[in-house]
Symmetry: C2
Subunit: 416 residues, 2 copies
């Protein structure tokens, strides 16, 4: 797109209340806009990135047979009363509202109860299992304080997956499948090397849950990482017994700060029992279904990636989730730039062309702030020698290239 047509251009000043780097860069660069503490609108650049993240997740879940649906924001209290979780003392981030007839409804902050209730209406036989269902759905959470920018908000899209199996060993199997799918997802998102499967508390119903923790000095969590084994332990369960049980050596564990970008749980029958989600097994006996749940917050993942992929000048997007693949800057030579712009679009690239009539320095500054992976420059001086300038956002080297070399370098970059 032509940057002159983008309504949400870069800004120098945003609210001084923002402390996290990601919230500052993402707002300065026109990806998000704050309305109230913890409530942000997703602007077109932000939506571009969010959709790419969602599509990477979707692909890696569909591959294993998971099906996508959409549950609701408005929640029937009757379903939540069965598990005892409609109470504000039990879940302390409920938003509630009411119908005209004064019936109180909840606003969904998670979806274990409604998905269990839904499956209970259809599930009959062990032959119907396994089932894996996921959604990208807006969660509303009444956080007491929302002070961490886009990393912890009151309204956010979460991908939540729920699995249903006939017994514990089938649950164990499917859990490993989707744990590995999460590893694949974070690899594709470009942060696989810095993301660690982390043993964390499993709450009251299983020994451990697994978190996916992205190393970041600005993270709220503390974990102990074994870099060789690519595994970590959350501080909340870090003790000699756990270290031994996991076969780890204290001397190999390094304390680091990190951001929880995803978590997965074995729920077993904790929701299927109260919500009566059962089926007839091979002997025609009624059994409660074994469940797992697997969450990734889209905005939090996006912001976490910015938190660790940036420099003083702005964002450095991993190539598969950047809002645009190429940022084209012209210094004069509008028509010449336009023909390259059209050529790149025709070749199937996503191009942001800064076609504004402003000083080159302004264009370069904005280009670094927005953070697309490749910068291509067109100018009169270069045009004379029939050349183009290419710069990678994550390097300071500048390459002066012929058209053929330029196209070949771009193709190589996106082929790998």
């Amino acid at each position: 797109m032509r940057y002159s047509n983008y309504p949400f251009k870069t800004r120098k000043d945003i609210s001084s209340q923002e402390v996290s780097k990601s919230a500052i860069f993402l707002q300065k660069a026109g990806f998000f806009e704050k309305n109230l503490a913890g409530i942000y609108s997703t602007l077109p650049f932000g939506l571009n990135v969010s959709k790419k993240i969602e599509n990477i997740i979707r692909k890696n879940l569909n591959k294993h047979g998971a099906l996508e649906l959409i549950l609701n924001t408005l929640q029937d209290p009757k379903i939540w009363e069965k598990s005892g979780r409609f109470d504000d003392e039990v879940i302390d981030v409920w938003f509630k509202t009411e119908l005209k007839n004064k019936t109180v409804l909840g606003l969904a902050n998670t979806h274990e109860e409604p998905i269990t209730d839904l499956v209970s209406k259809f599930l009959k036989s062990y032959k119907d299992l396994p089932i894996a269902l996921y959604q990208f759905q807006t969660k509303l959470r009444n956080e007491l304080r929302a002070k961490n920018g886009i990393l912890r908000t009151r309204e956010f899209v979460m991908k939540d997956l729920y699995t249903f199996n006939k017994d514990e060993s089938s649950l164990d199997n499917i859990y490993e499948i989707y744990k590995q799918a999460y590893v694949d997802i974070f690899n594709e998102l470009g942060v696989g090397n810095d993301t660690f499967i982390t043993f964390a508390s499993g709450g009251s119903f299983c020994k451990y849950s697994h978190e996916f923790q992205l190393l970041s000095e600005t993270g709220e969590d503390t974990i102990y990482v074994d870099f060789d084994k690519k595994i970590a332990i959350n501080k909340e369960v870090y003790n000699d017994e756990v270290i031994n049980e996991l076969g780890l050596d204290k001397n190999n564990l390094v304390e680091r700060k990190s951001i929880e970008v995803a978590n997965i749980f074995k729920l077993k029958t904790i929701y299927s029992e109260p919500l009566k989600c059962n089926f007839a097994d091979e002997d025609n006996k009624n059994q409660f279904v074994y469940m797992g749940c697997y969450g990734i917050g889209i905005g939090r993942t996006l912001a976490s990636i910015v938190e660790v992929h940036n420099d003083d000048n702005g964002i450095i997007w991993p190539k598969d989730i950047a809002p645009y693949q190429i940022h084209l800057v012209n210094i004069g030579e509008n028509e010449f730039a336009e023909s390259l712009y059209n050529e790149l679009l025709d070749a199937g690239y996503e191009v942001l062309w800064d076609d504004r009539d402003v000083r080159p320095g302004v264009k370069f500054t904005d280009c670094d702030l927005i953070g697309n992976p490749l910068r291509v420059v067109v100018s009169s001086r270069l045009k004379e020698s029939n050349q183009f300038e290419l710069k990678y956002r994550n390097s300071s080297d500048v390459h002066i290239l012929s058209k053929e070399e330029l196209l070949s370098k771009i193709q190589d970059f996106y082929a790998n």
Copy 2:
């Protein structure tokens, strides 16, 4: 996909409270599931169709330069107090909730105020205009009664587009562009012939708004249609003066029932004035921006299409929005069916294969209920003569074809 893996199979019995045909068929066939009056979950088949509808809309808006974003569900009362619309007496379908500190928030039932506020933060000069922004966002509406199935719900995804222009004549131009885009959308959705641009009340700020009304005997609206001119008048503004003004002849106007599937409004400066959304014009004078808004409810459009495209046996999907393009039924001959299934998938078709071990009659009944455009049957008898059966959902003719003829007929069907 293999139908044996679909968790939400067809059902004979659903709530007897449902009166609309679309709600009955869409639930019996596993597209939606009711939670509470006016609150439905979207099951995978329903999401398939919704996404196809969304993509047709998206394509036709992007073509004209509109940009997609996502605003919020949680609404800051301060913004709405500027227009006077936070009051439950002014908008009678508000759901409200509150933060821990007792600040009351609204839950968005529409987004004129937040989009105007957002644009006001960025808009500086007439050079920044026109702007066209849209979203697919969940609206929550506290309807007193929700008795019309999926046609009028308390929670639904709406595509809402907002345009911003420098003056009234630019608004008039962009309004015609997106009015035509809507015509294109309903044509692509397969209901263009039965959808009429309908003059309706423009409220307090302009003479007319335009509704897109789909003819349906079960519709709640009454309109007067000129079939030759492809235009209609809503009963609410139907009188001699309006008929004359539109250059129509009473004798050519036919009374019909219909469903409002979309509406578009010229808002002019009714929101930009209270929300101070202004810009510097060519003479550096401050001017309020001229706005338009354009809404299509996704679930309502989907349900309306079912309301008019069905027979006694079930849904008859228009081909570009069907959940699957081909419904494959095997009578025995599993392996033979599987190889055709894979061949069709490899050719790029979306195939639902009913691979269950149930009576042929059950498969045919479910096939008609679900309503995909093409039914292909594989059986031992056909296999002997190396033949396949093809039936179009909207015809009772059955074609016995060679593999080559079958593939060619399928290709022809989807090429047109």
